[in-house]
């Protein structure tokens, strides 16, 4: 095992040297320390080559030390937990970590696909559109698979994620993004006022740049001030600090999205813990203290391993005590870059040279150079010569035209800083250009949000503290907290001077977007080809469209576009900013909504009893319903269903129909209300009677149906279909509250409060007599067809009894409070034993309704009128009701509409299937003679053949006609006869008997 950590500095760093951690990268063993990221541990081990690039498979190293990283992407973990495109710069090291480089085959050092570089001319901007245009069918078969193999990043696990993800809400006065000096000052100020504060920090350590750049605050070294501040915040019970949590989006109404990586820093989450948690944070105010991102300068070979952002190099040296190079060169266009020189010298590293693009270099820096014995070159880096471990020699174009060469194994680059303007721009905000720092800064923000510190372009430590403290104070006050925020932390303001430099001309590929392999010449080509708008530039070149969303590349890209198109940078503008700020796993958005908990499951009151009976369940919406009850020896579902139907038709059976929507309608105007929502009249329904009702949508098409009973003068009980239960309630509430507020009526959803059973068959009354109190008169006279009233059961429970029939048999439906539902099922079985009672499921229910010609879901399709369903006569002409006027439109009353009719195959042995198209006999099927389709089918035990319902043009006038059923999906063709849709007991004698 290689535990040398060859590039680990002997002292310093926020790492725990007593806690060594072993890890593997591309199968090789390494060691790091607690407190390392994967990237810092690789740096400490002298590993510079970390991955291959997206298009050209160029060797890539580590560019940054944060979530803006474009290059150091790895596949983290193995098996089902393997996560592609994980940034090594944010992945915390843990014992046993396994990571693999991406985009290389067979190995990182020898990658066959790097041959792509030779074909570079065809991989230019827009190459997809230019190269693979013809022939069209080659796209799916040849080009796309080939490109997907060659280009692309990591591989998904391809196995279900074994971990859990949670979703949670949080509410507070002030949410703060970032825990650098700005965020901490804001948290102190707001927290001291007594405000409820949530501080989100994406890193596992608090402090932001304080951890790498230090400084002096309130006369204390930064580290000391930091621990004092965190100690003070810890005493505030209403300040919640969330590390490993990125505030990734700003939404309407002060709602913010945050992703908490709860257990990403462990090999796997501890038992009963989630991997990640998605937060929705509702805050009265938000302070964005997200800091700034150092930007690269685009030059030839700027993607060579060993080229690193200057601030990242400081982070590795100071925070992680890991040296990215032994002999460092710095290429800068600003004052801040020089800090890296001080840091490197302090850590005992050699400085090869400083290449500074500015004209004026401060005397302090000049004396630093002479003390350190390294040259300061006025000019720019124009090329990088790489050996097998990355940077070896650096070519410099000096101001004035001369050339120089610098030998170094690391190149720190600073092109200035870009404020993180994502969060402030998520409501289509456009940042504004600030000439003095050559950067975009926020121009306003979503309501309730304010940016402070480096996120606004104020880069000095003193300014960050001032702005953060002021923003925190104001936010707390705006949120209604009037307490004092105490004294402000103070520090000096460093000078910041910068000469803008975006792109150095030179030979070789100069990368703008390293993750998507977009070069400066791609941007220039896009401009020549007319893709000048930044939104076009982005899509044509894919600049900024990778997982890093162009955090290190967008501004350089549009600066180059501005230069070649002769416009200023603000004229060129930015693309629209959209959340999320960092990639968020789909699993986190799904939370627990996956597999069997994808949605809620509703169980009928008799579910457990039905399960005991061995029922087969079917999902209908959220419900699980008993579909049939197989018995030993039955070879398939059809045999079971046929038995159930025969048992009902010859004896008695029962079925749980509790899933129907049930609504109590109360009030003196209940009848008038129902008259307006149904096509037929209910105000004249006698107390103790039930009536079938049909409601339309306002456009005249059928919405829903069901029976409604009048239980008292001012009390109706209404049922809906299972599917529409919620929607009908919403619709009726709309009618009641918005359309007809003058009616004195109230609606109560009682779907879950009542268990309802259909009891059907010639022996129904015999069975009911065993259940219902003997004092109740169940005779045909005492309880006639369509009767409805409350009855007492044996034992005293009150029930609602309805003499309605869906099956066409003598039948009742009985409602009991839901808690008695299971007992009712058991009781029916017990009491029904002498009569051979048979429980039946939704299949038998469906068979009997088709035999009876009753319409259901497939016929109430949202395209049918009452007349189409054969129910046109129900439409009252004496009153207004929802949909009345629109139902009279020409097309809805046309004589050639498709209407419900029965169908049966002419060959009695032939099976019928729903979906088959009805075509006139002898014609070739086609759209012009498609006259309808089969909506519902079943094997009818009563008819001893397959039967069905169909919507057929002029169907009712064509009873007896033989037509053709054409089923191209299943490749079936057969003849069917159009017939009366009521196959069973057409005069209804059985249900009235």
């Amino acid at each position: 095992m290689n535990s040398s950590q060859s590039h680990r500095l002997t002292s310093g760093g926020l790492i725990d040297r007593s806690a060594a951690l072993n890890f593997r990268f591309d199968g090789k063993s390494f060691a790091g320390f607690q407190g390392d990221t994967l990237a810092s541990a690789l740096v400490a081990n002298g590993v510079k080559l970390v991955g291959r690039s997206f298009k050209y498979h160029r060797p890539r190293g580590i560019l940054t030390a944060g979530s803006e990283e474009p290059n150091a992407l790895v596949e983290l973990r193995t098996g089902a937990r393997r996560e592609p495109n994980t940034k090594a710069t944010t992945a915390e090291l843990y014992e046993g970590l396994e990571a693999a480089s991406q985009n290389r085959w067979p190995s990182l050092r020898f990658d066959v696909m790097s041959i792509n570089q030779l074909f570079a001319p065809i991989f230019v901007a827009g190459f997809y559109y230019k190269t693979f245009m013809w022939p069209a069918k080659f796209w799916e078969a040849v080009y796309e698979p080939a490109i997907r193999r060659a280009a692309g990043l990591g591989r998904a696990a391809g196995i279900a994620d074994p971990d859990h993800y949670d979703k949670a809400w949080a509410h507070c006065d002030v949410v703060i993004a970032g825990s650098g000096p700005t965020g901490l000052a804001a948290a102190l100020a707001a927290g001291r006022t007594g405000a409820r504060v949530i501080l989100c920090e994406e890193d596992f350590a608090l402090g932001g740049r304080l951890l790498s750049d230090g400084g002096t605050i309130d006369g204390l070294p930064a580290a000391e001030w930091l621990s004092r501040t965190l100690a003070e915040l810890a005493t505030m019970p209403d300040v919640r600090i969330m590390t490993r949590t990125t505030l990734f989006g700003a939404y309407d109404g002060g709602t913010y999205g945050a992703i908490e990586r709860v257990n990403d820093h462990l090999p796997s989450p501890p038992e009963h813990q989630v991997r990640q948690r998605l937060w929705r944070i509702v805050a009265k105010r938000c302070v964005v203290a997200a800091g700034a991102i150092e930007r690269p300068i685009v030059f030839a070979g700027n993607d060579t391993p060993g080229v690193m952002m200057a601030s990242a190099m400081r982070s590795y040296v100071i925070r992680y005590a890991a040296a990215p190079a032994r002999r460092v060169a710095l290429f800068t266009n600003n004052e801040d870059g020089w800090r890296t020189v001080e840091t490197a010298l302090g850590a005992g590293l050699q400085i090869a040279a400083v290449i500074d693009a500015r004209h004026d270099i401060s005397p302090a820096h000049r004396s630093l150079a002479s003390k350190g014995g390294f040259p300061v070159l006025h000019g720019s880096v124009s090329g990088v010569d790489s050996g097998k471990d990355g940077v070896r020699k650096i070519a410099v174009s000096l101001t004035g035209g001369a050339r120089a060469e610098v030998e170094a194994d690391g190149l720190a680059v600073s092109g200035g800083w870009n404020p993180a303007v994502g969060l402030t721009s998520y409501h289509r905000g456009r940042p504004k250009w600030r000439e003095d720092i050559a950067a975009f800064v926020p121009d306003g923000a979503p309501p309730g949000m304010v940016a402070a510190g480096a996120a606004t372009g104020s880069f000095g430590l003193g300014a960050c503290l001032r702005e953060g403290f002021a923003a925190g104070t104001a936010a707390a006050h705006d949120a209604g907290r009037s307490g004092s925020s105490g004294s402000m932390p103070v520090s000096d303001d460093e000078a910041f001077s910068l000469t803008p430099l975006w792109h150095v001309a030179g030979k070789g590929k100069a990368f703008v977007d390293q993750q998507h392999d977009v070069t400066a010449s791609d941007v220039e080509l896009a401009q020549r080809e007319g893709f000048e708008s930044v939104e076009h530039l982005k899509r044509y070149t894919t600049l900024g469209m990778a997982t890093d969303q162009g955090k290190t590349s967008n501004v350089a890209g549009l600066a180059i576009m501005a230069a070649v198109s002769g416009r200023s940078i603000p004229e060129t503008g930015t693309t629209i900013y959209r959340p999320p700020y960092v990639p968020v796993a789909i699993g986190a958005f799904a939370g627990h909504h996956r597999d069997e908990t994808f949605h809620a499951t509703r169980l009928t009151p008799s579910h457990h009893w039905a399960a005991e009976q061995g029922a087969v369940f079917v999902d209908t919406g959220l419900w699980k319903r008993a579909q049939w009850y197989p018995r030993a020896g039955e070879k398939d579902w059809l045999e079971s269903v046929t038995r159930e139907v025969k048992a009902v038709r010859s004896g008695v059976g029962f079925c749980d129909v509790s899933t129907l929507g049930k609504i109590d309608v109360h009030g003196p105007d209940a009848g008038a209300f129902l008259d307006r929502v149904y096509i037929n009249t209910f105000s004249n329904l006698a107390v103790g009677k039930a009536r079938y009702g049909l409601m339309l949508r306002e456009d005249g098409l059928v919405y829903d149906d069901g029976t409604t009973s009048r239980l008292a003068e001012d009390h109706y009980f209404l049922t809906t279909t299972t599917a529409k239960a919620g929607l009908v309630m919403q619709h009726l509430e709309f009618c009641r509250q918005v359309l007809f507020p003058e009616l004195d009526v109230q609606l109560t959803s009682i779907s879950d409060q009542w268990a309802q059973f259909s009891i059907a068959g010639p022996k129904t009354r015999d069975l009911l007599k065993e259940i219902v109190d003997p004092a109740e008169d169940l005779s045909n006279e005492g309880f006639p067809f369509m009767g409805a009233r409350e009855v007492a059961l044996r034992g005293g429970i009150k029930a609602r009894l309805f003499r309605i029939s869906f099956s066409g048999e003598m039948a009742f439906e009985i409602s009991v409070p839901a808690r008695y539902g299971e007992a009712m099922a058991r009781n029916l079985m017990l009491a029904g034993k002498p009569f051979g009672v048979t429980p039946y499921g939704t299949e038998a229910l469906g068979v009997m309704r088709i035999e009876k010609g009753h319409v259901a879901g497939p016929e109430l399709s949202g395209t049918t009128t009452a007349a189409d369903l054969g129910l046109g006569k129900m439409m009252s002409t004496k009153k207004d009701f929802i949909g009345r006027v629109m139902a009279g439109r020409e097309a809805l009353v046309a004589p050639d509409r498709q209407v419900v009719v029965g169908v049966k195959p002419t060959d009695k042995a032939s099976r019928l299937r729903s979906g088959a198209h009805i075509i006139p006999k002898g014609q070739t099927p086609g759209p012009s003679n498609d006259q309808g389709y089969v909506t519902s089918v079943c094997f009818s035990p009563t008819s001893d053949q397959w039967i069905g319902l169909a919507l057929v043009e002029r169907g009712r006038e064509r009873i007896g006609e033989i037509v053709h059923a054409h089923d191209p999906l299943r490749g079936e063709d057969y003849d069917v006869e159009l017939c009366n849709p009521v196959f069973y007991d057409p005069d209804g004698g059985r249900q009235r008997g």
């Binding site: 109404g253 919620g726 509430e733 709309f734 003058e742 009616l743 006027v885």
Partner: protein, 91 residues
């Protein structure tokens, strides 16, 4: 988005269902077909401030008239529908 329900207080969007333009008034019985057609099909889709019907199905089941700026999602007023709530409605 968050809506302040007059009965339940401030709640998040997921509890509500959107219906649309609250301006059209259902024509009285006997109104000509054209008028009903306009009511059923013609809707304004304003880029700006609009009165909309929203249903608090995840709460009190009240229908609400919400005045919302469709460009900024700013909600300036939430009123219960005329027939919402428990207050007695004078005929």
């Amino acid at each position: 988005m968050r809506i302040v329900c007059p009965f339940c207080g401030e709640r998040e969007l997921g509890e509500f269902t959107y219906l649309g333009d609250a301006k059209p008034v259902r024509p009285v019985a006997g109104a000509p077909e054209d008028e009903v057609f306009d009511y059923v099909y013609l809707r304004d889709n304003i880029a700006g401030v609009m009165e909309e019907n929203w249903y608090h199905g995840g709460g009190c089941r009240a229908w609400l008239k919400v005045t919302r700026n469709t460009l900024t999602h700013e909600i300036s007023l939430v009123e219960p529908a005329a027939g919402a709530g428990a207050r007695h409605v004078v005929k």
